[in-house]
Subunit: 372 residues, 2 copies
């Protein structure tokens, strides 16, 4: 076997506790890709091949509400199983895997939440993100990745991607599920816009592809005189409207039903929000949309872009860099664009150079450009 | 937003190259779960949710033979796309993701193989493992994981798991695809058995659930007088027989077609191989199979078990620990057993305490126990 000659045998297990500890800790370090020896190792290959399981393991933990059960005091597999109405065998294996994956800790037979899972995965936490999984791991999304070979061959998905269909069930699912994930960047955007908006009497803010409505509604909550205009497909706007009502801004919430490409955006805005929208399109279409935003803004008005922005090398940081794959597999021409690409689009659309805000609370980046 | 107050804003991007480098490297460290600040971070959640993509990205890289194209000299996305007959856009995004995942490196616009991908993913390498993906990422395996919530609730998969059906298509797929992965542990097992077998005139070796035949055939290659008996379902044995012919041991290769639970194993063996078999069953059934092995062995004969053996904590090392999930989702009662569990099974079946051999070249462990 080429490249596999001369690999060392680890100390054999002899049954003596001390030697076992040494052998096991050596094994541990070896099974963490990549092998410390510098010799070729198939373990990174195994690790990647099996990584699809991790997504579904987390989804099951959320669907059975294991994290909430632990938050409420269940500790052992038997206790958690009782609380979640599931089998002990299943829960034991599930919680062990969630521990391997870093979403739980284990001490003896007792499981505990990590700091992150207590905040984001306990369904009684205000920052709970579990609902996003119904969109992020929708069988249709998974199916698109299972067809990836053909997609890479062609450069685009074979069938009509869901993302381009009006009133698609998926986008209502998206709107309902993704809202909690978008609260932190929405709050950041509202803070960034506040100084400009607070100086105006009844500033108009346009929220393109409003979806769950979180971006426009949060701006409306923060700037008490702002008039929010939400544009999206009619069925999705129903969800946005629910959000506006729930947050007490419905009297300042105006609906523009239809496609962002067809509907008249109006004019006189102080801000146009383009959150998670441009990545669905090619650069030329993005520029066209930015020109439309420019035309709708007052002089001095701001366009706000929220996007996954990889570094110029396009292979870091991991989450923004890999977001281009989500776009390859689910849109005809979408992508994750780098900062120089956004700079060029903004320039062509008549904006100043965008300012970039990175966040600890989100893998996305805010870009704000001003109409001179 | 509880727990999200007071997160720091990173330095803004100003367009000056030096500041950009600082900002980007700060971002990089932040997007590596978990955030260095010790504040709650949703990034480990995002990372896990999207990890299913990694499996399919690797599968696509293998199916398009991207690694082989790079090994043969293609470097840029355009060159690799030409060599693989795929779109440049698709290949660029694919190779960027493979770089993020650690299976390629990138320098400017040029991609290179890592040491591991050169050995295991270039289809002209003798250690090529790509064929295993057709089994490991078979849509049926993925579907089982998509049904995980119900499986954890019930403690077993809802429908008849493929693994228990004779002559199932999946096991022929398994036999053909997994053979290359099993060569390194098979060579290790043959080396471990050699001293005992070489001392006997025509030692009989029984390979239970022979599958691809790699284990028995490798023992036959190493010990030139050994008579190999291969037991498996008839359709699968055809694959094992092909392996025996290809490796020139067919004259010493004997077929025992049928289920390991029904067929007479015979007697007078110096070694019985149980590679990757016990994990399909509960402990009691494993003990029954080990008793059958004991009865078939000569005194002093050895049973050879190859398994994923997690540490006693059942949450390390990652690959063996998470193998229990593969068994939960695809068998009625299977599991990944710890060393104390194997020790107890061997004791009950009349064997000495098993000796453990860990390998750098495989995430599995060899356990050998002797009949007194």
């Amino acid at each position: 076997m080429a490249g596999l000659e001369g690999l060392n045998v680890l100390p054999r297990y002899t049954g003596h506790q001390e030697e076992k500890l040494i052998a096991m800790s050596a094994l541990q370090s070896i099974l963490t890709p990549k092998a410390a020896s510098g010799k070729p190792s198939p373990l990174p290959f195994f690790q990647t091949v099996q990584s699809y399981q991790r997504s579904f393991i987390l989804k099951t933990g959320v669907e059975l509400d294991v994290f909430t059960a632990i938050a409420k005091g269940s500790q052992t597999a038997a206790e958690i199983a009782r609380a979640c109405n599931a089998s002990e065998r299943g829960v034991r294996i599930l919680c062990d895997c969630l521990t391997v994956m870093g979403h739980l800790t284990k001490e003896g037979d007792s499981y505990s939440l990590t700091q992150d899972s207590a905040v984001f995965l306990d369904s009684s936490s205000p920052a709970y993100m579990g609902r996003a999984l119904s969109f992020l791991l929708d069988p249709e999304q998974v199916r698109q990745m299972q067809n990836l070979t053909q997609t890479v061959r062609d450069g685009h998905p074979a069938d009509d991607p869901y993302s381009m269909k009006p009133d698609d069930r998926m986008w209502v699912e998206f709107a309902r599920g993704m809202a909690p994930l978008m609260v932190p960047p929405a709050q950041r955007i509202a803070q960034l816009l506040r100084p400009a908006l607070d100086g105006k009497p009844a500033p108009k803010v346009l929220d393109i592809a409003a979806g769950h409505g979180v971006f426009g509604v949060t701006v409306g909550e923060t700037c008490h005189t702002a008039q929010i205009y939400a544009l999206d497909w009619p069925k999705v706007l129903e969800v946005a409207r629910e959000t506006a009502v729930a947050h007490g801004v419905s009297s300042r919430y105006n609906l523009l039903p239809g496609s962002a490409f067809d509907v008249d955006w109006g004019s006189g805005y102080e801000a146009v929000l383009l959150p998670n929208f441009l990545h669905h399109f090619d650069e030329q279409t993005c520029t066209t949309l930015l020109k439309k935003a420019n035309a709708a803004l007052n002089p001095g008005g701001q366009v706000v872009i929220l996007e996954f922005v990889p570094n110029d090398d396009r292979v870091s940081p991991p989450i923004p860099a890999m977001f281009s794959m989500t776009m390859l597999s689910s849109t005809p021409t979408g992508d994750a664009y780098t900062f120089p690409q956004f700079k060029e689009m903004c320039r062509k659309a008549g904006f100043s150079e965008p300012k970039l805000t990175q966040m600890e609370e989100s893998p996305e980046t805010v870009l704000i450009a001003r109409k001179p």
